[in-house]
C-alpha cells in the first residue's frame, strides 16, 4: 500500500514536471521562469537534505495538530450526535468557528502566541478539524439499526457502546477521512509557516519565493508530496490493523 501510494505520487509529480519542461522548451523560456532538468537536479542536490529536515519538522507539527483536531472532532461528534437541543448547539458552535477564515485569525494567533510551535499547531488543527468534524458527526449521528436495536431492546445500550458500534461499522470511512485530513493538516502547517513561522518547509518556501527560485519550490513540493503519501499510507495501514484486531476481539 505504501509503495503504491509512493509510485502513484511519483507518477503525478513527474507528469507535472514533464509538462513544465515541455512548456519551457516549446516556448523557449529561461531558467528564471522554469528551471531546466539540469538546474533542478543541481538545486535538488543543494537543498534536498535541508528541505527533508524542514518537511520532517512540518510533519511533526502536522501530526500533532491532526491528532488534536481528531480528539476535538470526536468530542464534538459524540456530544453532537444526539438530536437534542444541546447536540444542535454544539453543532452550530462548531460550524461557526470554521466560518472565520484562517488568514484573518492567524495574525491574532501570532500576536498572542508568537510564531513558535503552538501557533503552527493550532493553525494546522483548525484547518483539518472541520472536514474531520463533518465526517465524524455524520458517522456518529447515523444509527446502525440492526445491531443497536438488540442492545436497546435488552436495555444494555450505553453511550460508550453506541459510539463503539458506530465507529466499528464505519471504520473504513473513518480511516479514509483521517488519512485525507493528514493532507489538510500538512497544508495548514505549511500555511502557518509561510505566514509567520521561523521553521519548517513553509518558511523555506517563502524564502524561495522571495528569491524567485522555482527550482527550490519544485524540490520542496516533491519532498512534501512523498512524505504526505508515506504518512497517509501509514495511517491507512494502521486503520486496517485496528479493524483486524478489533474484529478478532468481538
Amino acid at each position: 500500500m505504501l509503495l503504491r501510494r509512493m509510485y502513484q505520487f511519483g507518477l503525478i509529480y513527474f507528469s507535472g514536471i514533464a509538462f513544465l519542461f515541455l512548456v519551457k522548451y516549446s516556448l523557449g523560456l529561461s531558467d528564471y521562469v522554469i528551471p531546466g532538468p539540469g538546474a533542478t537536479w543541481q538545486i535538488a542536490g543543494q537543498v534536498a537534505l535541508r528541505y527533508a529536515r524542514d518537511v520532517s519538522n512540518t510533519l511533526a507539527v502536522a501530526v500533532v495538530g491532526q491528532f488534536v483536531s481528531l480528539f476535538f472532532a470526536f468530542i464534538v461528534g459524540i456530544c453532537g450526535r444526539q438530536a437534542t437541543w444541546f447536540g444542535s448547539l454544539i453543532k452550530v458552535a462548531a460550524y461557526n468557528v470554521q466560518a472565520y477564515p484562517i488568514v484573518a485569525i492567524a495574525p491574532i494567533l501570532f500576536i498572542l502566541l508568537g510564531d513558535g510551535f503552538f501557533t503552527r499547531l493550532l493553525i494546522a488543527a483548525m484547518i483539518c478539524y472541520f472536514p474531520l468534524l463533518l465526517s465524524i458527526l455524520g458517522i456518529m449521528s447515523e444509527p446502525v439499526i440492526d445491531i443497536e436495536h438488540f442492545y436497546r431492546q435488552t436495555q444494555r445500550m450505553r453511550w460508550q457502546l453506541e459510539v463503539k458500534i458506530r465507529a466499528f461499522e464505519n471504520l473504513h470511512k473513518l480511516t479514509t477521512v483521517i488519512s485525507g485530513s493528514a493532507t489538510l493538516a500538512m497544508a495548514g502547517t505549511i500555511v502557518a509557516e509561510f505566514i509567520a513561522a521561523n521553521a519548517g518547509i513553509g518558511y523555506s518556501i517563502r524564502i524561495a519565493l522571495y528569491q524567485s527560485d522555482l527550482g527550490k519550490i519544485l524540490v520542496a513540493l516533491f519532498i512534501i508530496g512523498i512524505t504526505v503519501s508515506l504518512y497517509q499510507g501509514l495511517l491507512e495501514r494502521i486503520g486496517y490493523v485496528i479493524k483486524a484486531i478489533w474484529g478478532r476481539s468481538q
Binding site: S30, I195, L209, Q211
Partner: protein, 342 residues
C-alpha cells in the same frame, strides 16, 4: 510626421487616378479608412508593478491618470504586483510589456538567462532602511550595530544588505542578534528588536508617526551612508521589445518619467495625493503628504540629473554584493543590460 505627410500626398495622387471608376473609388475609400483607423489606434501596453499600489507607485499612476501615456499614443494597463507576482517572468511569458523590478530580481534573472533590459532606474536611493528609536541610540558608525537586535527578512534583499554592512564593519554574526521579520511590527513596538527594516516612504512614515504620537523619537539607518548602494526598483522590459519596438520603449519611458517628475513636483502635490488617495483610502492626508515628501527625496536625483537615470556604479556594486553572498553563481555583467532611454 514627415513620413505621414508624404504618405497622404501619395494617397491623394492615387485617388485622382482612380476617380473615374466609382466602384473602385468606394473600395479605395474603405481601404483608406481602415488604414487611417489602424494608424491612429493606440498601443496597448501592460505594465506590471513590483508591489501593491502605494506611494512608491505615484509616478506610474500620475502618468496614466493624467494622460501622459495617451499623449504618446498609448493605453497603459497598470497591474499591481505582490509577492507571488514577478514582473520579469511576465515579460518573458508575454503577459506584460514592461515591469518594475528590484536590482536583485534583475540580477538573479540574468544569472538564469532571462532576456531583459533595464530602461530606467526609479529609486536613486534605496527606500529599504532600518527604523530605530533615536533616544539613547546613535548609529553614526557601523560599529554601533554591535550587540544590537536587528530585524531582517530572511531571503529578501534587506538580509543581503545587512550582511554586507556587518562584514564591512568586521562584525561577526554572533555579535548581533538577528530577528526574523514578518508583517507584524509588534516586536519592534515592544522594543524586543532595536532596528526594524522598513520602506521609509511608506511603512516608515506610518510607524514613525505612531511612535512619535507615543512620545518616542525615531531615526532611519541608511545603508547608502555607509557606502552600500543596493539598487531598488527599476523599469525593465524584454530584450525582444527593446530590439523590435524601440520607439514604443522610448515613448513609454518618456511618458512614465515625465509622470514621475511631475508627480513629485511640489506644485503638483495635491494632484498626486488625490490620485493615490483613490487607491489608498485608509491612509490619512498627513500620512500621505509625508509619504510623498519621503518619496521625492528617494526618486529625484541631485541637481543637473534626470529622474530615471541609471546609476551604473550602484548596479555594479549590487552585482558584486550578490556574488559575494552567493546569490548568483557567476558574474552577469549587469551593466551590459542597462539601456537608459534618452
Amino acid at each position: 510626421m514627415t513620413g505621414f505627410a508624404h504618405f497622404r500626398i501619395r494617397l491623394l495622387q492615387a485617388f485622382k487616378t482612380i476617380s473615374s471608376n466609382w466602384i473602385l473609388k468606394a473600395v479605395f475609400t474603405i481601404f483608406v479608412c481602415i488604414i487611417a483607423v489602424s494608424a491612429q489606434a493606440e498601443d496597448k501596453i501592460t505594465y506590471r508593478l513590483k508591489w501593491l499600489i502605494n506611494m512608491s507607485t505615484v509616478g506610474d499612476l500620475y502618468a496614466r491618470d493624467l494622460g501622459y501615456f495617451k499623449a504618446k499614443g498609448m493605453t497603459v494597463n497598470i497591474k499591481p504586483g505582490g509577492p507571488e507576482r514577478d514582473a520579469i517572468r511576465e515579460l518573458e511569458l508575454g503577459y506584460a510589456d514592461f515591469g518594475a523590478a528590484s536590482a536583485d530580481q534583475v540580477i538573479r534573472a540574468l544569472d538564469k538567462g532571462a532576456p531583459l533590459v533595464v530602461v530606467a532606474q526609479l529609486f536613486q536611493v534605496n527606500p529599504l532602511q532600518w527604523i530605530y528609536r533615536s533616544s539613547g541610540m546613535k548609529l553614526t558608525s557601523l560599529d554601533a550595530l554591535r550587540g544590537k537586535a536587528i530585524g531582517i527578512t530572511y531571503g529578501k534583499n534587506d538580509e543581503i544588505i545587512m550582511q554586507t554592512l556587518l562584514s564591512q564593519a568586521g562584525i561577526k554574526h554572533n555579535q548581533v542578534r538577528f530577528f526574523s521579520v514578518r508583517l507584524d511590527y509588534t516586536p519592534f513596538y515592544k522594543g524586543d528588536v532595536e532596528l526594524w527594516p522598513v520602506y521609509i516612504n511608506t511603512q516608515g512614515v506610518e510607524i514613525a508617526k505612531r511612535l512619535k504620537s507615543a512620545g518616542e523619537q525615531v531615526s532611519f539607518f541608511r545603508p547608502d551612508r555607509f557606502g552600500v548602494r543596493f539598487v531598488a526598483n527599476s523599469v525593465v522590459t524584454s530584450r525582444r521589445m527593446a530590439t523590435k519596438h524601440p520607439d514604443t520603449v522610448k515613448r513609454f519611458i518618456q511618458a512614465l518619467l515625465n509622470g514621475w517628475g511631475d508627480s513629485l513636483d511640489p506644485a503638483n502635490a495635491q494632484k498626486a495625493l488625490s490620485i493615490i488617495k483613490k487607491y489608498d483610502r485608509d491612509a490619512s492626508d498627513d500620512v500621505l503628504k509625508a509619504q510623498l515628501k519621503a518619496t521625492r527625496s528617494l526618486i529625484v536625483p541631485g541637481a543637473g540629473k534626470k529622474v530615471g537615470m541609471i546609476d551604473r556604479d550602484a548596479w555594479k556594486q549590487t552585482e558584486k554584493i550578490m556574488l559575494t553572498h552567493g546569490q548568483i553563481k557567476r558574474p552577469v555583467n549587469v551593466t551590459t543590460v542597462l539601456s537608459p532611454v534618452n
